[in-house]
C-alpha cells in the first residue's frame, strides 16, 4: 500500500495506543505548567473575592460523575478561595446524582483548612462558615424559591439539620444576602439560573462549565449576564493559579498537574487530523 493510502488508513487501535501513551507519560513524569489566567476567569475570581462580609457565596455543584475531572478542580479551587477569604458559603446541587460529589469536594477542602487551623476561629465550622443545603427537585424550586426564603426551600440541610436553627442561615435569608451565585455544571443549567434567578431577583451569576458547553456561554458572558466564566480543565487550572498566586494556598492542583498531558494530547490529535487531510488531498489529486 502506498504511503499516501497508509496515511488515511491508520488502524484505530494504534491511535488509541498513541493517545493513551501521550496522556500517561506526562502524568508519570510530571511537570506543572504555568498557565496565564484569561479575562473571563479573572473576572470570576474578582467577583468572588469582592463578596461583602455580610453576604454569601452560593455554590451550585451541579456536575455529574461523568465530568468530574473537568469540573471538580473548579469546585475545590472556588471553595479554597472562599474559605481562605472567610466568605460565607452555601452549597447546593440541582440533581440527585451530584450530591456525593459536592459532599466529597466540601470534605476535602474543609479537611485541608482544619488540619492547619490552630484555633476555633481559624477553623471552617459547619453551620457558622458554610452550609450544605443538599438537593430538592425540580431545579425550578430553588431557582425561584430562594428569592423569597432559602430556608423555605430547604427546611432541612443535607445532614438533616433544621436550616432555620443554623447560625449562618440567621443572616442569609434570600438572594438579597447573596453576593454571587457560582454555578458549576456540564449542561445548560447556568442559562436557567440567569433566566429565572437573575431576571427576577437580580442575583449575579458566575459559571464554571465543561469545555463542551464553553463556546455556547460566551454570548452570555459578553452581555454581562455571566459575571465570569471558567471553561474546562484549562479554566480550572487558571483559577487554581490565581488562588495560589494571590492567597498562597499551596495545595494539590488537580487541573494544573494535567496541563502537560492535555497539551500533548491536543498536539497528537492535531497531527492525526493533519496526516488524514494530507492523505486525503493527495488521493483527491490522484483521482
Amino acid at each position: 500500500m502506498k504511503l499516501i493510502d497508509r496515511m488515511t488508513r491508520i488502524d484505530r487501535r494504534i491511535i488509541y495506543f498513541i493517545l493513551a501513551l501521550v496522556v500517561i507519560l506526562p502524568l508519570v513524569f510530571p511537570t506543572v505548567l504555568k498557565v496565564k489566567p484569561m479575562a473571563p476567569v479573572e473576572a470570576l475570581y474578582e467577583a468572588v473575592d469582592k463578596i461583602p462580609a455580610d453576604k454569601a457565596l452560593i455554590l451550585d455543584c451541579s456536575y455529574a460523575p461523568q465530568i468530574k475531572p473537568e469540573v471538580e478542580p473548579m469546585a475545590v479551587a472556588v471553595l479554597r478561595h472562599a474559605f481562605a477569604r472567610r466568605k460565607k458559603v452555601l452549597v447546593l446541587v440541582l440533581y440527585v446524582q451530584m450530591l456525593g460529589l459536592a459532599q466529597k469536594a466540601l470534605t476535602q477542602v474543609t479537611g485541608e483548612f482544619n488540619v492547619k487551623a490552630e484555633t476555633y476561629e481559624d477553623s471552617i465550622i459547619y453551620g457558622r462558615d458554610y452550609v450544605f443545603l443538599g438537593w430538592t427537585p425540580p431545579p425550578l424550586i430553588p431557582m425561584l424559591g430562594m428569592g423569597e426564603s432559602i430556608t423555605a426551600v430547604y427546611p432541612a440541610d443535607y445532614y438533616g439539620n433544621q436550616t432555620d436553627t443554623l447560625e449562618l442561615m440567621q443572616q442569609i435569608r434570600n438572594y438579597n444576602n447573596v453576593g454571587i451565585l457560582v454555578c458549576l455544571s456540564g449542561s445548560a443549567i447556568p442559562k436557567s439560573w440567569v433566566a429565572y434567578a437573575q431576571n427576577r431577583f437580580g442575583v449575579a451569576v458566575g459559571v464554571g462549565c465543561t469545555a463542551v458547553s464553553g463556546a455556547d456561554f460566551y454570548p452570555y458572558y459578553q452581555t454581562g449576564q455571566f459575571t465570569g466564566l471558567m471553561v474546562g480543565m484549562k479554566g480550572a487550572a487558571e483559577y487554581e493559579e490565581l488562588v495560589e498566586e494571590n492567597l498562597k494556598v499551596a495545595e494539590k492542583r488537580m487541573a494544573s498537574e494535567a496541563m502537560l498531558s492535555l497539551t500533548y494530547a491536543h498536539v497528537i490529535i492535531m497531527i492525526f487530523i493533519i496526516i488524514g487531510n494530507i492523505g486525503f488531498f493527495f488521493q483527491r489529486r490522484r483521482k
Binding site: 491508520i10 484505530r12 491511535i15 488509541y16 493517545l19 493513551a20 505548567l33 504555568k34 498557565v35 496565564k36 484569561m38 479575562a39 455529574a64 460523575p65 461523568q66 465530568i67 468530574k68 475531572p69 446524582q97 456525593g100 460529589l101 459532599q103 466529597k104 430538592t136 427537585p137 425540580p138 425550578l140 424550586i141 425561584l144 424559591g145 423569597e148 423555605a152 426551600v153 443535607y158 445532614y159 438533616g160 427576577r200 464553553g214 463556546a215 455556547d216 460566551y218 454570548p219 459578553q222 484549562k234 487550572a237 496541563m259 492535555l262 497539551t263 494530547a265 491536543h266 497528537i268 490529535i269 492535531m270 492525526f272 487530523i273 496526516i275 488524514g276 487531510n277 486525503f280
Partner: protein
C-alpha cells in the same frame, strides 16, 4: 374527554406559571410558592416511580421471555435491589437501621457512590476521548471552504488555549480569546435567537393545546 382534562390542566397551569413573572403581589407569589413547594416538588418525586417502574418492567420481561442477553438483566435487578436496601435502611449518612460497616469495611450509600457510580460513569465518558481522536482522524476533512474554516477555527482555539501558546507567539492566546469573544459570539447568538424563539413558540403551542405529542397515544 380524557385528553380534554389534560389539555385544560396544561392550559391552567401554564397560565399559573406565567402570571407570577408579571404580578408581584404577595397573594400571587404565595400561591406560586405553594404550587412549587407543595405540588411540583412532590410530583417530581413520584415521577421517579414511573421511570423506575418502566425500567424494571422491561428487564423483568426480558428475563421472563429469555430474550437476548437476559442474564445481564438479573445483574441490574440485583444491584438495584441491594443498593436500594442499603440506601433506604442504611440511611444517607450510613446512620440508619441497617449497619453499613463490617469492621473497617464500609458499604454505605456514599461509599457505593464513590467507588461504583463515579468510576463507571467517568470511565464511560473517558472512552469518548479515544472515539473522538479516531473519528477526527477519519472524518475531519477540509473538503470545502466551510470545512476548512471550521478546521482553522478549531486549531486556533486548540492551540491558543494551551499553556505553550504564549511560547509560540505572545499574541496567540489573546487572538484565540478574541475568536471566542467576537466571531464565535456572533455565530452562537444567531443560533441562540433561533433556538429561543422556537422554544417559546413550542411552549405556547403546548399550553394552547396545539402541540399534543406529550399526551401519548390512546383515547
Amino acid at each position: 374527554m380524557h385528553k380534554r382534562i389534560a389539555l385544560v390542566l396544561v392550559f391552567v397551569f401554564g397560565i399559573l406559571g406565567i402570571i407570577p413573572f408579571l404580578i408581584p403581589h404577595p397573594i400571587v407569589q404565595n400561591f406560586d410558592e405553594f404550587i412549587r413547594n407543595d405540588i411540583l416538588r412532590i410530583l417530581a418525586a413520584f415521577a421517579l416511580a414511573l421511570a423506575l417502574g418502566s425500567l424494571l418492567r422491561v428487564h423483568v420481561d426480558k428475563i421472563r421471555r429469555k430474550r437476548v442477553n437476559w442474564q445481564y438483566s438479573w445483574i441490574l435487578i440485583l444491584s438495584f435491589a441491594i443498593s436500594s436496601i442499603i440506601g433506604l435502611f442504611g440511611g444517607v449518612a450510613g446512620t440508619g437501621l441497617l449497619k453499613t460497616a463490617i469492621g473497617s469495611f464500609h458499604f454505605d450509600i456514599q461509599t457505593l457512590y464513590e467507588n461504583i457510580i463515579i468510576p463507571l460513569a467517568s470511565s464511560m465518558f473517558a472512552l469518548l476521548a479515544f472515539f473522538m481522536a479516531s473519528a477526527s482522524y477519519r472524518a475531519f476533512r477540509a473538503r470545502s471552504y466551510e470545512a476548512t474554516l471550521l478546521l482553522v477555527s478549531a486549531f486556533i482555539v486548540m492551540i491558543g488555549f494551551l499553556p505553550i501558546a504564549s511560547s509560540i507567539s505572545s499574541r496567540l492566546p489573546a487572538f484565540a480569546q478574541w475568536v471566542l469573544n467576537v466571531p464565535n459570539v456572533a455565530g452562537q447568538r444567531g443560533i441562540l435567537f433561533g433556538i429561543a424563539l422556537g422554544a417559546v413558540a413550542t411552549s405556547l403551542k403546548i399550553i394552547l393545546g396545539i402541540e399534543r405529542a406529550w399526551l401519548g397515544g390512546g383515547k
